[in-house]
């Protein structure tokens, strides 16, 4: 009798834990929202929401690409450097028109992605090592092209950075649109299915005749292009190109958003909704602590706690 009850309790507990793993990130966002509504003055203003959303947009765009890389049991550490490269390229090519500059920035990201993908797919270098190399090289290159901060005085860029449509900033609309697009790619395309299969079991995918190399390269190219685009968005928002500091530690924020959002590091699964919520969660956490005048080091500690919790939940999921 006792055993029976015990069994039921632990089954209930397992179900609860599973729900937490699946939806914990949304719950976290909700709790932070409620806490802020209760304790933070002026939190419930349209202006504040716009600020938060605009700040989260570039992180989210980077995290979308990161989610794809992590889905293949990889990672891309070069995203922050790609943002720096992208901002340098914009400054350099803005003289030729904003579209040329945008194209140059995206091409920069694609080239870095090609290099990452080739190292991973053809040379067989571990993703963490391959992208670390490009992380170092990318920022170096960005600084060679543009050694110091430069103002960006372009009306189009300024409009992109601070304009809005019916009160919703362009940056937020673009990030949301990209999130929908990536979610669609993951769910509905051949590429998305193959990506997940490769992440779950690469030997099986290989023996099933999947174009493993092509998919891997495309994943890193997409990740690079998204990071470059995030660089464009950040440049537009700041109306300045600063290759020294733009995108530093961005790889960590992006990985955190992806992992907190429930995408396992072991690959085979990509959760875009969770990634969006993960990015929002980190942003809210940072904003909350800043608004209550806690030092920035506290933010880092809080982020660390969230990561540990997410990894713990992932471990439980792996055991299931």
């Amino acid at each position: 009798m006792t055993e029976l009850t015990l069994g039921r309790v632990s089954a209930d507990r397992a179900r609860l834990l599973r729900l937490l793993q699946e939806y914990g990130v949304y719950l976290g966002v909700l709790v932070l929202l409620l806490v802020n509504i209760a304790f933070t003055p002026h939190f419930l203003s349209g202006e504040n929401f716009r600020t938060q959303a605009v700040q989260v947009a570039p992180v989210l765009v980077v995290a979308l690409g990161m989610a794809l890389a992590i889905g293949t049991e990889g990672v891309d550490l070069s995203v922050g450097s790609v943002m720096a490269l992208s901002t340098s390229l914009i400054s350099l090519y803005l003289g030729y028109g904003v579209w040329i500059a945008l194209l140059a920035a995206l091409l920069g990201g694609i080239v870095v992605g090609l290099a990452n993908g080739s190292l991973v797919a053809f040379v067989g270098v571990q993703p963490i090592v391959a992208t670390l190399a490009l992380m170092v090289a990318g920022r170096g290159l960005a600084l060679v092209m543009l050694p110091q901060l430069k103002q960006v005085n372009d009306p189009d860029m300024a409009a992109l950075g601070s304009g809005d449509l019916l009160g919703v900033p362009y940056l937020v609309l673009i990030a949301a649109g990209l999130a929908l697009l990536v979610a669609f790619v993951v769910r509905r395309t051949t590429f998305g299915r193959q990506l997940l299969a490769i992440g779950d079991s690469r030997p099986a995918a290989q023996l099933a005749g999947l174009p493993v190399r092509r998919v891997l390269i495309l994943v890193y190219v997409l990740c690079g292009a998204l990071a470059a685009f995030a660089g464009v968005l950040a440049t537009a928002r700041l109306t300045a190109s600063d290759p020294t500091s733009l995108g530093t530690l961005m790889e960590l924020s992006a990985i955190t958003a992806v992992v907190v959002g429930g995408t396992p590091l072991s690959g085979g699964r990509v959760r875009i909704g969770g990634t969006v919520a993960g990015a929002v969660l980190i942003q809210l956490l940072t904003a909350t602590l800043i608004k209550h005048d806690l030092p920035p080091s506290w933010t880092q500690i809080a982020q660390a706690v969230v990561i540990v919790l997410a990894v713990y939940a992932a471990r439980e999921r792996g055991k299931r």
């Binding site: 509905r188 395309t189 051949t190 590429f191 299915r193 193959q194 997940l196 299969a197 779950d200 079991s201 030997p203 099986a204 995918a205 290989q206 023996l207 099933a208 005749g209 999947l210 174009p211 085979g268 699964r269």
Partner: protein, 505 residues
Amino acid sequence: MLSVSGLSKTFPSVRALDGVEFTARAGEVHALVGENGAGKSTLIKLLTGVHRPDPGGTLTYDGREVSFATPLDAQQAGISTIYQEVNLVPLMSVARNLFLGREPRGRLGLIDFRRMHREAERALAELGVRVDVRRPLRELGVGAQQMVALARAVAVDARVVLMDEPTSSLEPREVATLFGVIRMLRERGIAVIYVSHRMDELYAICDTVTVLRDGKVVHTGPLAGLDRLRLVSLMLGRDMDTVQDEGLTKFTGEHDAGREPVLRAEELTARHRLSEVSLDIRPGEVLGLGGLLGSGRSETAKALAGALPVDSGRVTVAGTRVRGGSTPAAIRAGISLLPEDRKAEGIVPGLSVRENIALAALPGLSRFGLVDEARIDRIVDTFVKRLRIKASSAHQKVGELSGGNQQKVLLARWLAMNPKVLLLDEPTRGIDVGAKAEVQKLIDELAADGLGVLLISSDMEELIEGSDRVVVLKDGAVVEELTGDQVTEDRLMRAIAAPAGESRD
């Protein structure tokens, strides 16, 4: 020197060893043989301290009862192991590898390199190996590396040397050197435990043999008086006198095979794995691949499917040559492989039954890169019904299914590609009896439908009753082909047991 008694080992779900008695005497080369899952590797791991035995068994070493908590304990006691893959430090010099952990020290406790190099050279020369001991180990061939491992084993005053398939990556010349060293070890009074599947090697070098099967010792004794055929039947668990006429499997056995082969392999050669393997598969027949573990059966299947690069030889399907070393090319040509390691190389465990079935056929089920869900549903539905796949729904994860149903999902994945040739590597291993019969029946039906099937199975009955013809492999080469009335257990075992060079009638 080293003996065990009443040794058992139980893993969470299986009893890997059951009351094993085993004795290795000083100055004796003792062969340890058995098929997959017989318990060889478990026994080795118990002897070398990797695993701990269940309570009740005793391990006696040098006259005293011992228990090794770690591999280091066993090593320090004088039990050295040489594994299939060399486990040394590839970037360190040969000499440093030889003396790793016991480097000769000079004053100040620094390594005395000059003395180390001198002694390393001498130790290797004794084994007939001449190399520059200052060079990093990885620059040496695999054979020479194995010699370094051996020299290390001897140099640490080993009294028992365990060798786990030491010749699997050696050239014939290197094998000869290795045998020389083993004889030397024997003369020095060292007990050698030799694990191998190669009959010729066993009879060339071993004095005694212990046969394991299903975790039990089924035979132990001198090798000299033991007939090869008898040894094979002991390993495979088939008693020569009572080979049953009546089938226990679900195969009908006979098919109307077409005349022209659908697949033809000519002289496939891959270093250390396959040598000039040629075979034909006709539409509508089941071709069996016979042979012991390590004879090159799985390698042949993988080479045909483009998953193992070959050095030479060609594969043609319906007269068209297939580009080697490319799985997609083989699949396009109509060759499908159901791999031996279903869990690691077959299923994608985290994806659903539906996604797993559609995986290989996906490009054909998409338009402009967008997946056509309705078509996938139709195909999945068809195969779930036809193959009687039991899952709670098509959206259940494949990792949660039973082994038999996983295998059916894989079959469905390939059948959805409309293959011409199906290569089945151990299709019924590790699945329960009921599912086994179903899979066997399916194989029969598929052949009857005109598919060319290659069947690899360690289950004698399955192989004999399922196949129309059997090609027998040994050491990566075809030694015999059995057709028609010749397809019997007796003939198959004779072919496997025959010494090299005398196998063809």
